[in-house]
């Protein structure tokens, strides 16, 4: 289909009626996931934005779902936070109920059925990754409820930047160090080339033996040390005189309750 200009006529019509055209909103994030020799690795940047403002310079975008299942979240921060928390809770109960380790497909199904029900209004774009008895699994989930099972994937406003790195360098069964470096480089591509992404690189490495979370794995944007001193030495401003403008007399006065029984009291149960 190529480019889609179908909205142009609609927008022109709306503008002629005095309705302002919609502003584009970005999901302001770079999140990635890939499968490597021993499992999966998730990566994320740490910038949270409110329009053009950076609301949080070091937020956590890799969410816990189960000890062996973690989830990168892009989109509306509250939605990703709550939907992953909700599914994590459901999964824990389910896992105890069936007496088995949680599976990534279960998390994926719970998430997609919830998101589909809300027809995309719950703005959560997630990369779910983990290692369960069926092996390493990596899935991406979109807000409308569609899922893709892939060996490597990226989501968020910086996803195109990150995907360029992945498409160039990903191979099947990469060793751990090389895979971690590839994830970090993909996130950095988003951090430096996407305005919606920034600050640090967070990583989560999941294998059948457990998960290692690297909060602040790389910090390529640390604030430099201040180079000058801007404190004025005592005596810089000349004191010309002293004048008392207002004097307060502070007293401690006990409060006496006058009249009224139970009816006047604020706290009836106290």
């Amino acid at each position: 289909m190529g480019f889609d200009f179908s909205n142009h006529q609609r927008n022109a019509f709306l503008e002629s009626r005095g309705i302002a055209s919609a502003k584009a909103t970005s999901t302001g994030t770079t999140i990635v996931g890939l499968k490597y020799a021993d499992g999966v690795i998730l990566g994320a940047d740490t910038r949270a934005t409110q329009g053009p403002i950076v609301a949080d310079k070091n937020c956590e975008k890799i969410h816990y779902i189960a000890p062996n299942i973690w989830c990168g979240g892009a989109g509306t921060a509250a939605d990703t936070e709550f939907v992953t928390g909700m599914v994590s809770s459901q999964l824990e109960l389910h896992s105890m109920s069936v007496g088995r380790t949680a599976r990534v497909v279960t998390a994926m199904t719970l998430l997609k059925q919830h998101l589909f029900k809300y027809q995309g209004h719950v703005g959560a774009y997630l990369i779910v990754g983990g290692v369960d008895p069926t092996g390493p699994q990596l899935m991406s989930i979109h807000a409308h409820g569609s899922t893709d099972k892939l060996p490597y994937t990226c989501l968020g406003s910086g996803s195109l930047n990150a995907m360029a790195i992945f498409e160039t360098r990903w191979r099947a069964d990469m060793p751990r160090d090389e895979a971690m470096e590839l994830v970090a480089d993909a996130i950095k591509s988003g951090i430096f080339n996407d305005l919606g992404s920034g600050s640090n690189v967070d990583l989560a490495v999941i294998t059948k033996d457990g998960t290692e979370v690297f909060r602040g794995y790389e910090k390529p944007n640390e604030r430099g040390a201040r180079e000058g001193r801007y404190v004025y030495r005592r005596g810089t401003t000349k004191r010309l005189g002293k004048e008392t403008l207002l004097k307060f007399d502070v007293q401690t006065v006990p409060v006496e309750v006058v009249g009224g029984g139970v009816g006047d009291r604020m706290e009836v149960d106290a």
């Binding site: 289909m1 995309g120 979109h142 569609s146």
Partner: protein, 225 residues
């Protein structure tokens, strides 16, 4: 009804993932063959370039999905659930006709909220291989060959000219491979690799064609063999 804008308001919602797609299914001598491209798009970005649009909804009943990825995945999952319930409740596996009608029922009843074009195809002991097309409105059409998705518009001529009844499996594979390749060449929303599934009641065989194995358009067989 407002005709002035001439815009299809039923199209995908903003930001929704679409399977622009070329899908096809053909009945051959002994079974059915399903085929699809592998491109899933969000606007102009290809969200998944190796999608599997051929979904198993029962042992010998599969479907090709086109339209909204979320809608078709949801319909296929619910269809799978209904068919499992059918076997439990009726003591016999569902026929392809039952599966296709259930899918059509879902698509028709929810036509205002769905953007799903399905081709249900499979093999059962009662009727052998069957292909049913279920386009956007939820109608059902039993056919010997069905094509769907945005890319299908480019291959109606090729399909009408080259389709023959009772081809062998190899002939059917060659036919659909060329058809899908032609559509992928011309439709921006179709591309990637070609996936196929052959169902003949004895086994289900998956096929995968990429890069050099996808025929270049100028290599397509001459029409009217």
């Amino acid at each position: 009804m407002d005709h002035s804008l001439g815009i299809d308001w039923k199209a995908l919602k903003k930001g929704e993932v679409s399977m622009g797609t070329t899908i096809a299914a053909v009945k051959y001598d002994g079974g059915v063959l399903l085929a699809a491209d592998s491109r899933t798009t969000t606007g102009a970005y290809i969200a998944n370039r190796v999608t599997d649009k051929l979904t198993q909804i029962y042992d010998n009943i599969w479907c090709c999905r086109s339209g909204s990825a979320a809608d078709t995945q949801a319909v296929a999952d619910i269809l799978h659930y209904y068919l499992q319930m059918y076997e439990a409740q009726n003591g016999a596996p569902p026929t392809v006709r039952v599966a296709a009608n259930l899918a059509a029922e879902m698509c028709y009843s929810n036509k205002d909220n769905l953007s799903a074009g399905l081709i249900v195809a499979g093999w059962d002991a009662k009727s052998g291989g069957e292909v049913y097309s279920i386009p956007l409105g939820g109608s059902i059409h039993k056919q010997d060959i069905a094509i769907g998705g945005s890319g299908s518009t480019y291959i109606y001529g090729y399909v009408d000219t080259n389709f023959r009844k009772d081809m062998t499996r190899e002939e059917a594979i060659d036919f659909l491979k060329h058809a899908i390749a032609l559509a992928m060449e011309r439709d921006g929303s179709s591309g990637g690799v070609i996936r196929m599934a052959a169902i003949d009641g004895k086994s289900i065989d998956r096929y995968f064609f990429a890069d050099a194995d996808i025929p270049a358009a100028w290599n397509a067989p001459a029409s009217a063999t």
